[in-house]
Amino acid sequence: MTDSDIQRLPYDVVVIGAGGSGLRAAIEARLAGCRTAVISKSLFGKAHTVMAEGGCAAAMGNVNPNDNWMVHFRDTMRGGKFLNNWRMAELHAKEAPDRVWELEAWGALFDRTPDGRISQRNFGGHAYPRLAHVGDRTGLEMIRTLQQKVVALQQDDAREHGDPEAMIKIFAETTITRLVRDNGRIAGAFGYTRDDGAFVLFEAPAIILATGGIGKTFKYSSNSWEYTGDGHALALLAGATLLNMEFVQFHPTHMVWPLSVRGLLVTESVRGDGGVLRNSEGRRFMFDYVPDVFRAQYAETEEEADRWYTDPDHNRRPPELLPRDEVARANNAEVKAGRGSPHGGVFLDIASRRPAEEILRRLPSMYHQFKELADVDITKEPMEVGPAQHYVMGGVEVDPDTTESLVPGLFAAGEVSGGMHGSNRLGGNSLSDLLVFGHRAGLGAAAYLDSLGGGRPAAGDAELAQAGAEALAPLERAEGENPYTVHAEVQQTMSDLVGIIRREDEIKTALTELEQLRERAARVKAEGGRGYNPGWHLALDLRNILLIAECVAQAALERQESRGGHTRDDFPQMSPEWRKVNLICSLDGDRVALRRQPMAPMREDLQALFDRDELAKYYTDEELPPAQAPRAEESH
């Protein structure tokens, strides 16, 4: 490979990923005056964010005026079982309303309250109706609004500079395979354009990872094909660290039948709007699964739960609206106990609970999805649902305020970053996370650029040659295994052995199998040439999928407790000692290295937002504030 084989494109900021966080980051970087490139594996406007259904959590208080950032912060910490990076949770709760209002000023059309404000809906783990939404297609509204804001900025640039792409340009169907550095600092991103396989180097001192999650590591996942852990892996390979990769969210309700659509998401809004879970005996089983830490906040009888929908101030919430990890485990347990539905799920019933016209109005996509793909009319009969992989809480370790990783010039926002959601993410907190930290990443990258002055890091030739050779290897091998076969086996291993319920012996077996799969992946052969070749693309993605699978498995083996999206059959209890521990993955040579890192104690004013009794359920005795300590509200 010669240097002329690589197209070089200089930019100030390069954003990898064009979903919610990537576009929000790019908009902010452009507004700060940076020449910005956005790189997307798909076409513009197709990113996985379109699949978000329920809504975007922001304590605007439009439906219940008692809501505010402190309540949202508390709910987020509880949902994450106090393992969250509390500073991220604080920034998120405080800034989410501004980020939602801003979308409206850019043209978004959310559903309305009777007085014309943005309507908000109930969701699992949120104390008040908090999710700004558009029916059950909120993610599409968000991505389209951000896409159209990018276009609006390009139109401004067309008027000012005569070129719509002078300041912000979208590189659709382009994949990054390596980040390149200069003396430890980010110098650029190397990759290929999917339509012709040509190499491209984005020369930029600041890179924002916004690549989303790792769903394609698992067999049944609601994630789109793009979710191959690219950003997680690129960060590791560039010397950054990953935080708490054992926490993987298995969302409780996905379609289970037909097999073709197994893993297709059924929005939590079905439960937020009144839907209930039943087993084969017709029992509303969630009442049997309310854990002690949440006992005080959830209804004990069906009557009280049903009253809550109309009178939330005097009744407690239905247990169907517990955080997702609790509901997923309950669904799993009912099926295991032999009380499942015919196709191995449980029943989700809204038909008997709400009038058909209300279901059609509030859940149009769900109606459409079941009608067209499963011949089920959800206004007349219950849905069959079960858990599938949905989200990863673990991700790149970042500074909460700037989103910068440990590598200078490398930033991360959205699902690819770690810490914000602790051990379990609440529904609705993802879209808001994308906006809040996308915005901060754009600002962080712009500030980093200012701090650089004139000098810019440069990519070294040797590193580029290596990246090119790595990318071409699967095409150049005379023979080798089919990449699709290896991918299917990785997914099977992870789903069987490091899935929703985990055990030491099974995780160890998984690690052995992953080791063998890694050797096989290094020898796969992609047939065909460089032009739009999905087999070649998958062969390259396998490196990332396997690297991240190993991180998840290693961290899952290490953490000997059950918390949020990490359930150990052999360690079923939540442990206050383990709450203080973050597990950090880094790369040592080409091996994943794992270490423990203490969690920073929560700032006092934030800690004072909780009753001591509640903290005692999570904290060790030494961590607890002294008894009788005055609450912050009283002392101020």
């Binding site: 699949m51 789109s224 067209e372 040439g529 739009y532």
Partner: protein, 263 residues
């Protein structure tokens, strides 16, 4: 579970040339065309180019022509086909082929760039917008669009008529204009440019776009016809015409944004 073998007749080739190739592929109960294509990739044709993303009918990536009909592969169930009949899969015809079933849809992004964006009253600050549900619902219907571009593919104004691609934006983007015109908080006026720059007049309401829309948006009835009525009111009303002529009525139409088309 019932497993059968189906014959897929898939267009293989690139911008230069190509032909239909036959494959025998396993199919199972409840599957959609995209499942069969994935199985074909995994077992027989690893380099078969197919654009897809969510496999849930939400992203609009896997548009193609299935037995000549513009459809999403992820929402087309195998059960709709006659058993034993081959299923023919070809790229969407209106746009140039990149490879196999993948086409270059950049025409659509260029058109999107030319439509004047949402223009709120600058005096209304974020958080201060007040809109009624009944007022947002018209535009909300159009915002269900997943940009699969099947309406663009089927529209006879540009299908097999590349010479019309310059004066005509296609149903998706005429609907985008309608969406902004009906947005309760928008202040711009795109009625003249809808006709003059984006070719609304080319549409003779055959409703082909509405028929192929996987989101069941009533593109013709709810977007294009009302938009035509608004244009008539703006351009051809004799009083408005007179007002323009004698300078009593200031021109307030927003100009189209200079795009690649004009450069």
């Amino acid at each position: 579970m019932a497993s059968t073998t189906v014959t897929l007749r898939v267009w293989r080739g690139d911008a230069g040339q190509g032909q239909l190739a036959d494959y025998q592929v396993e199919a199972n109960e409840g599957e959609v065309v995209l499942d069969i294509l994935h199985r074909l990739q995994a077992t027989q044709a690893g380099d078969l180019a197919v654009r897809w993303n969510c496999k849930a009918g939400k992203c609009g990536s896997c548009s193609m022509e299935i037995n000549g009909q513009p459809r999403l592969a992820c929402m087309t169930r195998m059960s709709i086909f006659e058993p034993g009949e081959p299923i023919t899969l070809t790229p969407v015809r209106t746009f140039p082929v990149i490879r196999d079933l993948v086409t270059d849809v950049s025409f659509n992004y260029a058109k999107a760039m030319e439509i004047p964006s949402f223009t709120p009253d600058p005096a209304v600050k974020p958080g201060e917008f007040r809109m009624q549900q009944t007022d947002v619902e018209r535009s909300q219907e159009f915002r269900k669009c997943i940009e699969c571009f099947l309406c663009q593919d089927v529209c006879h104004v540009i299908r097999d008529h590349p010479e019309n691609e310059r004066p005509f934006a296609g149903p998706r983007f005429l609907m985008r204009i309608a969406e902004l015109e009906m947005h309760p908080a928008d202040t711009a006026d795109r009625r003249e440019i809808a006709q003059d720059d984006f070719g609304l007049g080319y549409c003779n309401i055959t409703k082909c776009c509405t028929e192929v829309c996987p989101e069941h948006i009533k593109i013709t009835d709810n977007a294009l016809i009302p938009m035509k009525e608004r244009v008539v009111g703006r351009k051809y009303d004799p009083l408005v015409w007179l007002g323009d002529k004698i300078g009593r009525r200031p021109r307030h139409d927003t100009p189209a944004v200079p795009g690649r088309r004009s450069s």
